[in-house]
Each structure stands twice: as C-alpha cells, then as structure tokens.
C-alpha cells in the first residue's frame, strides 16, 4: 500500500492519503464501514487535528498511516525529501503503552534498539530525549512508579527519540486529568514552537474540540457512520492561543455546529444513529443522564436553549459523552439540535417540572412512539400468551444488522430504558423479557 513518490518541486508534502476505505469484520461487504473515501494531505511544519466522535474512524486513519492497519482500499503515499529518504512515523498512545518491566530509559531506547543503533549512541540519544521532555532523574524508574503525566512524557520521549518526520498522537491527553493534560499540552506546544523536537509535522487524534483549536493549524472534522471528512478548518489564530479570546470561542462554537449538522437535508430524525427501524444502534445512555441534561438546559442560565460548547464546559463532559445524550433526546423528541445549540421541546420543558411517575409515563410514551426496537419488543410481548420472550431472539435479530458488540449494547440500552419506563421487564437469570416483573 505504501508508495514512495518522487518529490514534487515546491510543495513540502509529507504524506498523501487518497481514497482510503476500510471496514471492520468481513472483508468485501457485510462488515461495518469505518472509513469511506478519505483523503488527507500532510505538509511540513503543521499540526493537524483529526476531530470526531468515537467510531468515526479517526484512530483507524491514524493507524493506517502508522502502518499498523492495512486499509481495504486506497493509497497512503509517503513523499520523499530531496535526498530521496521517505518520511518516517512514530506514535504516542492514549494508554501510554509503556512496557512495565522496562525502566524509563529502556522504554525510550526500545525503538533505537530495534533499529540496531549501537549501545553508546543509543544511550546518548535516549538521555537527550529524556532530558528534552523533562524526565531527567527518572531514567531508572519503572513506569508503575510514575504518575500518568510522567508516563505520557515517557511515551513522548520514546516516540521522538527515533527522529520521526511525522509524530502521530492518538488522543494523547485523554487519559490524564484536566490539569496534567493542560501542562503536558503546553509543554509539547512550547517544544514544537521553539523547534526543539526533530519532527516536521504532528497528526493528532482528539475528541476534545478545545484541545484541537488550541493546538492545531488545521482541523479535519470527521463524521461518523461511515467515517468521512465532514469539514476542513484552517486555524490561523496566533500561538499561544487564549481560550477566552472571542475568536477562539467563535471557532469552537462553529465546530460544534458542524459536528451536530448532518451533511444532507435528511428526514429529520433518522440517521441520528446508524441503522433504521429496529436495527438502529442505540448508544449506552442512562435515563438519569437524559433527565439531568433536560434539567440543566431547562434551568436558569439557559432557559430551554443552550450552546453545546457551554454545556460541555459547564458539565465537564467530553463530546463523546455529551453528544449521545443530546442525540438521544432528539430521537425521543425531547430536544432539537439547531446549529451549535440544543433547544428543548415543550414536552421536555414540561418533563422538567413534573414528578417521577409523570416523567416515567412521558418517557414511556416517547419510547414507544420513537424507538422502533422498544415498540417491537412490546408488541411481541403483547402477542405472546405468557407475555414472555427470550432475549436471545432479539439479540439474534439485531446481529443480522450489526456486530455482536453493538447488538449487545443496543439491547442493554433498550432494556435500561424499558425498565425505567416500566414498559417491559427483563430477567437476567433467565435472559428473557416479560411484561410484568415476577416478584
């Protein structure tokens, strides 16, 4: 798949990705389409962000460029420089991926060792990288002795010590707490802006919109199911950037709007989640989160309409947490996503005011009206003499349309909602649904 091009005259391009398509599961149809016809050009001296929800294929794209995944179709071209050497890549992982039985120094030396760099040089280069990344004094520590932030520094040192042209980062800060992530981001940006790292370009995967705007020169917004590049946004704010700068805020809002908007004028609610009818894959969203979001948007500062960016800020939610809740509300006709805002429907505003039993009744009504799978289960239970049905049958039905994991999650979600709404009950021991809970 990887081809090396002769270097074009003036364009300092590093990597050119064209027509990339990849599916999970069965090759040649049937599998879940993760990436569809994705194109991407990486040039020298830029930080490019891949922004999208989980399942939008951004990690798959990153791993394809890293050479860890062989995509089904498409081409990844590494453009050689004037000396004819092709760019090299190196990766930083979300989970740090440190070898617990190797010391910091040994972890950093790993890539050099694989390249058979002689011992002395290996040591010198590794120590230099450790020094650069602010880890000196920890050379002989084992990863388990370090804090999360320190571990990710080791991951970073290990990646840059092999002098890659392109640094790939897979949600590098998302496993860290807010403060640590901020420090690490700032340090990385400082090193990058001062040109102290031997890398030419950075490609970073993130689902944090502010992080993307803070760091990147260019952001590719991915849409899900299948993963496509929905928008490409140049960020020309000067570094260092200020989160409170109005231009910064405006950009963040703009990206929220783009991420909630759907590409074509589709029928209003279908297509929120992949699949249609009973085969719609439902995200794992608890009824408490739904009620919580309704109450939050209904209450005083927002009064029924809230910008998603502000909500995310206020509730300390990542987009991967916030979007599924908001979209579920939309599915149930409790809210409407308009641009970067979420607008509660009159039903939802009433829901916020009433007592528990009325809430349950309202939820049950919405569930049976707008969630086909819930309708389906209820109808089967009504039809059957004993009003019981094995869960297996619905699981099999779902698995005709989606992967077993998705089927399991969808069934769990509908069980959760059905139980809350008291529309049907589920008995785990017997693995079956029933109309009434047998106590």
């Amino acid at each position: 798949m990887a081809t090396t091009y002769a270097r074009p005259a003036a364009v300092p391009t590093l990597v050119k990705v064209e027509h990339l398509t990849h599916r999970y599961g069965k090759a040649g149809g049937g599998g879940l389409l993760v990436l569809k016809d994705v194109a991407l050009t990486l040039r020298e001296n830029e930080i490019v962000g891949l922004l999208g929800r989980s399942g939008s294929g951004k990690s798959t794209l990153l791993r394809s460029i890293a050479g860890l995944i062989r995509p089904d179709e498409g081409d990844i071209g590494f453009v050689a420089d004037e000396n004819g050497t092709a760019p090299t890549v190196s990766m930083v992982f979300q989970t740090f991926a440190l070898f617990p039985w190797l010391t910091v120094l040994q972890n950093v030396e790993l890539g050099l060792e694989a390249q058979r760099v002689p011992g002395e040089e290996r040591r010198t280069r590794a120590l230099a990288a450790i020094d650069l990344i602010g880890l000196d004094g920890f050379e002989n520590a084992y990863p388990k002795e370090l804090s999360g932030g320190m571990r990710q520094r080791v991951g970073l040192a290990r990646a840059i010590v092999v002098n890659p042209s392109l640094l790939l980062m897979d949600e590098p800060f998302s496993a860290l707490d807010v403060l640590t992530a901020e420090t690490l981001r700032t340090d990385l940006l400082d090193l990058w802006l001062e040109g102290r790292m031997p890398i030419k370009s950075i490609l970073i995967v993130t689902h944090n919109i502010e992080e993307a705007v803070l760091m990147c020169d260019r952001i590719l917004v991915f849409s899900s199911n299948p993963g496509r590049v929905a928008a490409e946004i140049e960020v020309d704010l000067p570094q260092p950037r200020d989160r409170l700068d109005p231009a910064f805020r405006a950009l963040v809002d703009d990206i929220y709007a783009r991420m909630t908007a759907r590409a074509a004028p589709e029928p209003a609610r279908d297509g929120v989640f992949p699949g249609t009818g009973i085969a719609m894959a439902l995200p794992r969203v608890s009824t408490n989160s739904l009620a919580g979001l309704i109450e939050e948007v209904d209450a005083s500062p927002f009064d029924g309409r809230a910008p998603m960016a502000d909500l995310a800020d206020q509730l300390q939610l990542e987009i991967d947490d916030l979007f599924p809740i908001a979209e579920t509300l939309q599915l149930l006709r409790f809210a409407e996503l308009q641009g970067a805002d979420i607008q509660l429907t009159p039903a939802a505003r009433r829901y916020a005011q009433v007592d528990v039993d009325t809430r349950k009744a309202m939820f049950a009504q919405a569930l049976l009206a707008y969630v086909p799978l819930a309708q389906h289960i209820k109808r089967i239970l009504d039809e059957r003499a004993g009003h019981v049905a094995p869960a297996r049958r619905f699981r099999d039905q779902l698995e005709d349309h989606m992967s077993p994991d998705y089927a399991e999650e969808t069934l769990r979600t509908v069980t959760l909602w059905g139980r809350y709404a008291e529309v049907f009950a589920y008995d785990e021991d017997d693995d079956r649904f029933s109309l009434e809970d047998a106590v």
Binding site: L68, V89, Q94, T95, F99, P100, T103, A114, Q115
Partner: protein
C-alpha cells in the same frame, strides 16, 4: 527497584560486580557460600546419573539415614531437570500454537485433554522406550523417570504460556509493530516478560504435582526386574516393602525439608523477581517478599544468578542482526481456504486413524465386557471423588473463610496451606494402611480419603484467598444491617468466595482422579489393600504389564475427567464469572 538486573545489560552489571567494594558485607559472604554449595551439590548429583546400570546392583538403595541427603538431592535434581524440559517444551509448543492457526487447531485441544489425563498410566509405555535408548546405563532409566515427571508438569505450563501470548495487550503489541521489532526481540522484550508471572505460578503448581510422581517413578518395574534409582521415591518403596515404619518417617521428614528449601531458595526469590513483570501499571499493595531474594540483591548477585536467562536473551539478540524495517500491518488476509481444508482433512485423517489404531488394539485383546467393567468401575471412582470433594468442602470452607477474614492469620497460614498442597500425599499412605489393617476397616471406604489427602489443600487455600478478597465495605454493610448466620453465608460469603472455590475444587477433583491410581491400591509389606475402582483397575493392569487394559483404563478415565470438567466445572466457572464477579 533501580538496581535490578536488566535483561540486555548482563555484562555491564557483571563488571560492576567485579569492582572491588570497600568492605565485603556479610550478605556477600552468605550469598557466596550458598551459591558455591549449590554448585557442588548439582555437580555431585549429576555425576551419579551417568553410571552404568549394573552399579545399582553393587550399591543398591539402602535404608541408611546417612544416604538420605544424597537421595534427596538426586530426586530434587530430577525434579528440576523435568522442570527445565517442561519450560523448553512450553516455549516451543505454546509459541507455535499462538503463532500458527494450524498448529493451534491441534495443540490446544491436545493440551486441554493432556491436562486432565491420568499421567501415571503412561509410565509403563515410556520406561521401555527410554531404556532402549541407553541400554545398560542408568541414564536411560533416569530419563524415563524425568519424563514421567515432565508429563505431570508440562501441560498446564504450556497452556498458561499460550494464553498469555494470546492476551498480550494491544497497545504494547502495536508499539512493537510500530518500531518493527523482529520476532525474536518481540518475544524477549514483550511476550516472554508478559507471560512470566503466570508461567512462574504454573511452574510452582507443576512442581507440587511432580512430587507425587517422583515417588511413583523412581522405583520402576520392567517385566520381572525392578530398578530402583537412588532417590526418596525408591527409599520409600523399599521402606514399604520392608514394613520399616521409621524409614517412612525419615522419608517424610526429608521430603518436608527439601520442599521447604527449594521453596525458600528457588521459588520465593523467583516469585519476588517476577513481580516486576506483572502488567498492572500500579504498584502492588503487597509485593511478594523473599529474604533470599533480598539477600541476593544486597550482595548484587542477581545479575549472576539470572545470567543464564539474560545471557540467552543477549545471545539471541546478537544473532538477530536484521535491522528494523517498516512497521508490519496486521494482516487482514484470510487464510487460503484450500490449504485450510487440506489441513483440516489431514488432521481429521490422523485423528481417525489414531482412534482406529487404539480401538483396534484394544478390541483385538478385549471384549465389550471389559469396557463395561471399566465404565462401572469409573462410576465407582467418580462417586468417591464427588463425595470426598463434598466432605472436604464442608470441612475446609468454613475454616478457610474463618482464616481468610482475619488478615493476620491468612498471612501466616496461606503459605502453610500451599506447602501442604505441595507435599506428596502418597508418602503418607503407609500410615493409613497400617491403621486400616489394625482396625480391620473396609478398604472400599477407608482407602478413599487418601485420594483427597493431597488435593484438599487446593480448596483450603483458594477459599482463604477468596475470603480475604471480600471487600471490607460489603462486610461492614452486612454487619451494620445485622446480617447473621445463614443469611450472612448466603448473601455475603458464598457469592464472595464462589469463583475461588470453583478454581480450588476443580484442581482438587482433577488431582483426586489422578491420585486414585495410587490411592485405591496400596501396600504395606505383604499387606495389599484394594478398593474397587478405576484406579485399582489401571494400577493392576500396569503391574501385570497388561497394555490393552492400561489403554482402556486410561481412555475411560480421560473421558470421565474431561466430561467432568466440561459438564460440571466449566458451567460453574462461567456462572461465577457472569454473576458473581466483584467490581
């Protein structure tokens, strides 16, 4: 932690060792003495192995206590030789199974069955083979004994290694592919370290199991001649023949000392060392402790001790000069369906012909009646195993819970339970025989407890572990609401210990099946006691050299044990995993 040996830096550490330290510490002296002593013992013991077979007639095994340390040494060396062989087998076979889909298809089911097959029954087949390899030398018999021990150790080690290789964390796997580590480097840097803790644990379990067989495999009958290799097993066999009560006592004592020694000097240090390979990235609350390990570490002897390992690694890395290339993508390609079908066909054909061979062999010598007999006897043995596991559970579960809920006691008694599990119970059989003969008890009933004598401890120490893992907040909640007696057991303790109990009971029942071969037919001098069961059937057929019956007996027992695991323990295990997992 910072001065631990590093796999690829043996030489550097060695030079540090040679550097003259200001004043040699007491730790240096003690550690040096220990090492020198061990070296002399190993060389001395190994010399005896290469002597001609005839020497055994000139210097037969005698019941002189002065000889006992020497015998104990020979026995221990056999154990470790077998352990080495098991390790070699594990690395080759398990790696093959993990890397090749086709090999996996054959190896994994085979290991699964071999794990639960009565190994003692194989003894008859192998001795003849190995003696043929080195006619007239002790070495052939030694190899046969070592092989017998090996067959009791290798399977679960290989299985654990295979499972570890299959569950290497994805992100580390991606790092090694991203840096294009060569297969060798990947094995040494990633797969071997990751698999080490589970492998060490299984090696310890194997070692315990091995003791049981060492006793049975040192005194070997071939046709009319009986060969007794110098060792504790032969000593014991001789003591039983001569009804020498005191000699049996000496053997028990020697065994206890040996087990204590290798536990303190080999396994504990290794466990303490292997702790660093645990994959959890958080520091463990209670790191395994070993005074010997601390001693070696203080004396900076660790690099030397582990130099065979590190040296091997360095050698492999030195040979492996191929520089890194581009990362290797995870292959999405389907295996060639034609090749796959051909392979399947080949395996099926081999299986069928093997089955044909075995059935044909047995059928040409035996009638249907024999199969029915064996089956009925197997049912008897099964009844024994079930009843005994139940009785052992009733006794040890409450005791284990009591201990487990008291951390101070658990800490002290857990190693004792593990020691008891390692102790070869067949050494104690003569005492039972004497008692049964003395009070004229029914062997059918009173020989049965011998089957669980050695294996009941697995129930105990697993229950202790389970009870101490019950979260304090659950216990406090139960206490606050006044949950007592039966409700306390039903809602808190039994669900809490259940997964652990199942593990223990599974091990105990498997061990008991195996033990039935030696426990159902026991002798004391001229007294021979027999209980009706499949164990006796196999044991008698083995003594009589009746190969068809041995084959039939082993086959029936294998079917029972495998069926037992599939129909009883696996479902229980799955249930515990699904419903009773804490957190």
């Amino acid at each position: 932690m910072s001065n631990m040996p590093q796999t690829a830096r043996g030489v550097r550490s060695f030079s540090r060792l040679l550097r003259v330290t200001p004043a040699p510490s007491w730790a240096d002296a003690v550690a040096f003495l220990l090492l020198a002593g061990a070296a002399i013992l190993i060389i001395g013991g190994a010399e005896g192995m290469s002597e001609p077979l005839a020497r055994l007639n000139i210097a037969p095994v005698t019941l002189d206590p002065w000889n006992l340390p020497g015998y104990a040494l020979r026995t221990t060396l056999r154990m470790f030789a077998a352990l080495g062989a098991s390790l070699g087998f594990t690395f080759v076979v398990a790696t093959l199974a993990a890397k090749s889909k086709r090999a996996e298809m054959v190896i994994v089911p085979a290991l699964d069955i071999l794990q639960s097959v009565p190994i003692l029954g194989f003894l008859t087949f192998t001795v003849t083979f190995f003696m043929g390899l080195f006619p007239g030398r002790q070495f052939g018999v030694e190899l046969a004994a070592i092989f017998a021990i090996f067959t009791s150790q290798a399977w679960n080690m290989a299985f654990s290694f295979y499972q570890s290789l299959r569950s290497v964390p994805t992100d580390l796997e991606e790092v090694s592919r991203g840096f294009a580590l060569s297969p060798w480097r990947r094995f040494i840097r990633l797969e071997l370290p990751f698999a080490t803790p589970a492998l060490v644990w299984n090696a310890m379990m194997s070692m315990s199991g091995g003791w049981f067989f060492v006793v049975a495999s040192e005194a070997i009958s071939v046709g009319n001649t009986r060969i007794m290799l110098p060792g504790i097993g032969s000593w014991l066999a001789l003591a039983i023949d001569r009804q020498d009560f005191r000699a049996v006592g000496w053997a028990v004592g020697a065994m206890a000392v040996v087990i204590l020694l290798y536990d303190q000097f080999v396994f504990r240090p290794v466990v303490a060392w292997a702790d660093r390979f645990r994959f959890e990235q958080t520091a463990s609350q209670v790191a395994p402790q070993s005074w010997a390990y601390d001693l070696f570490r203080r004396a900076r002897l660790l690099p030397v001790l582990f130099s065979p390992l590190t040296g091997f690694g360095r050698l492999m890395m030195a040979i492996d000069r191929r520089p890194a290339r581009v990362p290797k993508a995870r292959s999405n390609a389907k295996p060639n369906p034609m090749g796959q079908a051909a392979w399947l066909g080949l395996v099926a054909a081999a299986l069928l012909s093997a089955a044909w061979l075995v059935i044909g062999y047995v059928a040409s010598h035996l009638a249907w009646r024999d199969a029915l007999d064996a089956f009925a006897l197997a049912c008897l043995t099964m009844l024994r195993v079930l009843v005994l596991i139940a009785i052992a559970s009733v006794i040890w579960v409450p005791i284990g819970v009591w201990i487990g809920l008291r951390p101070r006691w658990a800490e002290r008694l857990q190693p004792v339970a593990q020691f008891l599990a390692a102790f070869p119970a067949n050494v104690l059989f003569p005492f039972a025989v004497i008692a049964i003969v003395h009070w004229r008890l029914s062997p059918d009933i009173w020989l049965s407890p011998l089957m669980v004598l050695g294996t009941q401890w697995y129930i105990l120490f697993n229950v202790i572990a389970g009870a101490s893992a019950i979260p304090t907040d659950l216990r406090e909640a139960a206490g606050m609401f006044g949950v007592r007696r039966w409700q306390w057991w039903r809602t808190l303790i039994i669900p809490g210990i259940f997964p652990y109990y199942v593990t223990g009971a599974l091990t105990a029942s498997g061990g008991s099946w195996n033990a039935s071969i030696v426990a159902e037919a026991v002798s004391w001098g001229s007294e021979h006691l027999e209980a009706h069961g499949l164990g006796t059937y196999i044991a008698k057929a083995t003594t009589a050299g009746d190969f068809p019956r041995v084959t039939l007996g082993i086959a029936v027992m294998s079917i029972f044990v495998t069926g037992f695991n599939r129909l009883l323990w696996r479902p229980l295990y799955a249930y515990a995993d699904r419903r009773l997992r804490l957190a």
